[in-house]
């Protein structure tokens, strides 16, 4: 859907962007951001669930986090936009830099981090009391931003999320009236409305049928031209289809924290992994 961008996004009010340097750039030239995680360790209470994970997520690329359940992929993902700390007993070590700025430092507030690094959850979670249009705009009112032309923003975001054609005639209906796949794309549109530089997706298709999954994967490929995407997935084929880069997480033995076993270009991880454990996992000979 990138074709629709040129007239509309060029007019997008600069106030919506958080990055000062990007204000003068129209959307299609908007340089996406990079995230560098260095030695990230996460705890829940005394339990260490993730140890010394180092990973760079490059601008304009899709990075897939793969690995068996309980290996800390989601925890790692949630540490990237400070959702990890919402659990009262959660703790973290290491640094995570967004374009060179440590997101856990004084230089950034959690709200700023989260509006620059958006998130789509495993289970579609549109706001039930809001209409489709209001759902898309929810991030603006939540973070106190304003928009001169909310209608255009709704259309633009729904188009980018690949949902516009299906809902354009019923924007005022409740968000819960949509199917699961549509709800998930609505959540993507909602995340896009605050103009994030990075989008985190936590198994976005695991609750969806294959057709909806296909549509969302298409959306991901289109979005990654402008937005850096990090996706957690259990689906090996999906990782191969959508990602440029792959990181394989693993818990060595029960009670150990999760670690990154191997990370690299997707093709290499799947076709020529350097670690035998990665080979076992991606070829389905695991455990």
């Amino acid at each position: 859907m990138t074709t629709v961008q040129s007239p509309q996004t060029a007019e997008t009010p600069a106030a919506n962007r958080q990055v000062v340097s990007s204000e003068i750039l129209p959307e299609e030239q908007h340089p996406s951001s990079r995230i560098d995680a260095t030695d990230v360790t996460c705890w829940f209470g005394k339990r260490k669930v993730l140890e010394r994970c180092t990973l760079s997520m490059e601008p304009g690329e899709v990075t897939a986090l793969i690995g068996p359940s309980g290996c800390g992929k989601s925890t790692f993902l949630r540490s990237l936009n400070r959702m990890h700390e919402l659990v009262p007993v959660a703790a973290i070590a290491g640094t995570i830099e967004l374009d060179g700025v440590d997101i856990y430092s004084e230089e950034m507030s959690p709200t700023e981090v989260r509006s620059r690094i958006g998130m789509v959850f495993q289970k579609p979670n549109p706001f039930p009391a809001m209409s489709i249009a209001d759902n898309v705009l929810a991030g603006l009112s939540l973070s106190g931003m304003s928009n001169e032309d909310p209608k255009a923003l709704v259309e633009q975001c729904l188009r980018r999320a690949g949902l516009w054609a299906e809902v354009s005639d019923r924007l005022n209906e409740g968000g819960m009236s949509l199917s699961g796949g549509q709800q998930q794309r609505l959540c993507i549109a909602r995340a896009l409305a605050v103009h994030p530089d990075v989008l985190l997706m936590d198994e976005p298709c695991s609750a969806l049928d294959p057709i909806s999954t296909r549509v969302i994967e298409q959306t991901i490929r289109e979005l990654c031209e402008e937005i850096t995407i990090v996706i957690v997935t259990h689906n090996m084929q999906q990782a191969q289809r959508v990602s440029d880069k792959c990181a394989f997480f693993l818990v060595e033995s029960i009670g150990d924290p999760g670690r990154i076993v191997e990370a690299g270009p997707t093709a290499q991880v799947f076709e020529n992994p350097s670690d035998p454990r990665t080979y076992d996992y991606v070829t389905g000979q695991f455990g």
Binding site: T111, R114, M119, K123, N125, G139, S141, G144
Partner: protein, 326 residues
């Protein structure tokens, strides 16, 4: 089976068949026990209403049904009774208490649920429960002796700065401010804060975590999340909690009787000395009442009963409507 060919089957319209519902003896006994418990509650409500109506009849006949509800007099010697002023007074006091209690209770509920660290949360939760368990006579005495002086200060400040609002005017510049509807309402407010707090806290705790996380993940502040997700989610339940509190405020007796400078007439000057409520009328007059006055007090009780019933039915209707809307 008689029907074999498809044509015949198509002719015969199918109807739902009987399903055998065999109930074990234990189930039957237990069901009877539960049903009788349910019947008792209905019987209490019906019986109370009936009792009140029968006992109220002599006074209502003497005073006249219409004038009982449209005049403000209390003259047992000639059998002239009217509770209009007290009905209004009851609503004034309950309204004052809501205005004070609702922001306090919702703020408290949100602080406990969303802001406070775990340790403080435990302390606060149990102190709110303790507050709910405190006898109202304690609140009444504390209000009378400890709270009146500071509240008089608040009242004169309100009158000085906000007398543009009719609510805060006085009948004359130096009218006494002790023992007013405002003070009583504030004390009653403290008594209904716990119920409003704990019900709305429970309701908001039901909000799916995923909704709250979605709001935060969009860059929302905690306040933004509360405003856009928690409060809309809890709307119906909070309304119900507030009306529960209102119902309690209408019926609060001892604290009101202790503090208010009792008058039969309605006193529109909320900050000023004097006022009354149905419940305080009964508490104040009952010990020395005889014959017809007792009947008149019971009639007043019937009026309070009816009013509380109406508020509760209204509460249910509102809650139901907002639930459907949400």
């Amino acid at each position: 089976m008689a029907l074999t060919s498809p044509e015949l089957q198509a002719l015969e319209e199918q109807v739902p068949r009987d399903i055998a519902r065999t109930v074990t003896r234990g189930d039957r006994i237990f069901r009877t026990l539960c049903a009788s418990a349910a019947a008792v509650s209905l019987f209490i409500i019906g019986g109370t209403a009936l009792f009140l109506a029968i006992k109220a009849l002599p006074a209502l006949q003497k005073a006249g049904l219409l004038s009982f509800f449209t005049t403000s007099v209390w003259n047992p010697t000639v059998g002239d009774f009217g509770v209009l002023g007290l009905l209004i007074g009851t609503i004034i006091i309950a309204t004052v208490s809501l205005i004070v209690a609702v922001p306090l209770a919702i703020g408290l509920a949100l602080f406990i649920n969303e802001y406070s660290p775990a340790r403080i949360r435990r302390v606060l939760t149990s102190s709110v429960d303790l507050l709910a368990a405190m006898p109202s006579i304690i609140f009444g005495m504390w209000g009378f002796f400890a709270l009146q002086a500071p509240l008089v200060g608040v009242a004169s400040w309100l009158n000085l700065h906000l007398s543009a609002i009719p609510f805060f005017r006085l009948s004359e510049p130096d009218a006494p401010l002790l023992r007013s509807s405002f003070i009583v309402g504030t004390v009653v407010a403290l008594m209904i804060v716990p119920i409003i707090t704990s019900v709305s806290r429970d309701v908001m705790a039901q909000c799916p975590r995923s909704q709250c996380e979605a709001a935060l993940a969009l860059g929302g502040s905690r306040w933004g999340m509360i405003k856009e997700v928690l409060l809309p989610f809890g709307k119906a339940g909070i309304t119900g909690a507030v009306l529960l509190g209102f119902g309690r405020a209408l019926g609060e007796t001892i604290a009101v009787a202790l503090i208010i400078a009792f008058t039969i007439e309605a006193n529109p000057y909320v900050l000023e000395q004097g006022g009354g409520s149905i419940a305080s009328l009964i508490a104040i007059k009952f010990p020395e009442a005889q014959d017809l006055e007792i009947s008149a007090l019971i009639a007043a009780g019937l009026a309070l009963f009816g009013m509380t019933l109406l508020v509760n039915l209204g509460a249910r209707a509102i809650v139901r409507r907002t639930q459907i809307a949400a």
